[in-house]
Symmetry: C2
Subunit: 306 residues, 2 copies
Amino acid sequence: MIPDFEVTILGNTSSIPVHGRNPTAQVVRYHKDYFLIDCGEGTQIQLQRFKVKSSRIENIFISHLHGDHYLGLVGLLSSYNLNGRTKPLTIFGPKGLDEIITTQFRWSNTRLGYPLEFIQTNPHHSEVILEKQGVKVISFPMKHRLPTTGFKVLEKERKRRLIKEKLEEANPPIEAIKAFREGKDYSSDSGKTYLVDDFAYPEPKLRSYAFCSDTIYDEGLVPYLQDMSLLYHESTFMDDQQERAKITYHSTAREAAKIAKMANVGELLLGHFSSRYNDLSEMLVEAKSEFEKSILSEQGQTYSIS
Amino acid sequence: MIPDFEVTILGNTSSIPVHGRNPTAQVVRYHKDYFLIDCGEGTQIQLQRFKVKSSRIENIFISHLHGDHYLGLVGLLSSYNLNGRTKPLTIFGPKGLDEIITTQFRWSNTRLGYPLEFIQTNPHHSEVILEKQGVKVISFPMKHRLPTTGFKVLEKERKRRLIKEKLEEANPPIEAIKAFREGKDYSSDSGKTYLVDDFAYPEPKLRSYAFCSDTIYDEGLVPYLQDMSLLYHESTFMDDQQERAKITYHSTAREAAKIAKMANVGELLLGHFSSRYNDLSEMLVEAKSEFEKSILSEQGQTYSIS
């Protein structure tokens, strides 16, 4: 069985929540692991609305300290507490986020009933910040008005899928089957060799997801994003606001698409749309003119990472 | 013309947002003055959703520092800034709220484009905290797990409404009409006296609104609430959780109704409902058995204060 790997968009507006778009938050699910990336105001309500199993979230990743990327965090942590959570939670985020959380819990006299760990992200270098079975998370630096990191969720390994008919035909020993799953050939004590490629489907391409929001157009990101299956890249503005994008350290849809093309990603998911745009169809045209496999993210939608 | 005086409920859940109920926030409008009382997570979205002219808000009142009463504040302040607000804003709230706001704006490197004043409320004594034309706001202490105040919005004075037919009949001088509006008799230079009660409808009863959330059942509140036109009182639990209400410093619907009855208020608006109750009809029955003029607040509804 191939583990599910997908991302659900909880919010994709830039700053001001309008046009039915909430601030940035998304849940990346790899099999049974749920990763919350950014947590704008109202995230706990969005999690309920879109029926995400939010109690499964054990790791939260915050890109930077503009309010539209973290203001829902204290409410979510408080609701976990009121719901009797005991399972540990780890927050990865920039310096200062711990002070923001502890200041509020100090004044509200809150004692959490579950262990909360804070791990400070590094805004200067890429780092592996989490390793789970089958998957790992890497942070990498981005250029914005505040210290900001992007996040990559990478499939580490995947068992080879076996060809049932071939196994039935040759009936290799049980140890051989285990070796095939790991992608290895097998030699029996009697000297007979079984080649994995005869009994297993071709090596699967490892899947990967990257989150880049917020960032100015930055070709320095390309090495971090090379060959990603799915790239979520901020797309605050259209061509008409290219200068404004530069001044505010944001990107246009076209710029996001250029990065996607240079990095040779599978698909590009656009988000973090400025409140000035209600209809986004022209924005999509601008992105597609650079990179055909561009998609406008929609709140409440789940996108498969494949 | 009698100035409009009304309250719009933006949220009325206790702590966890469920059953389509958002955390506490409400807008009291007196003519052109908009007062925001409490500002739970998502308040800026609720203001838009219910088409409240949020740019008109110049005064925000925060009862206490449990997250469900203030977590929407930094998002609202940020959005005002992004929308180019220049009009001053005053926040009245407990000690600590200023630190919570400034900590976040320091980390997000936010410079507001409008003057923001913070006025600390007094959790020990009742105080007049704001005087506007025709209306004033008073804070008063409540008993909860944190320092908490309630708020009263009181009509100060209202021009007497004139009886058109009587004026046309007697045709008094223009100065007399001005005096009648102020509720005064008028004597002309020639010694003729005009009695206000002959030309104006009877003295209007001044209208008033009180907000009590969160609070334990506390008969000490009664003097503050005497004869209020409309009382919003928290009603977290039903009779089945009376003990829990006491332990958590909250009230049951019945207790809210008892306070309303003792204070001889006009109407009682119930809110801050626990997430354990979806259907609230039995809660209303319990309240009405003590005080007939009890109403369950509904999110998005506007209640006239009369």
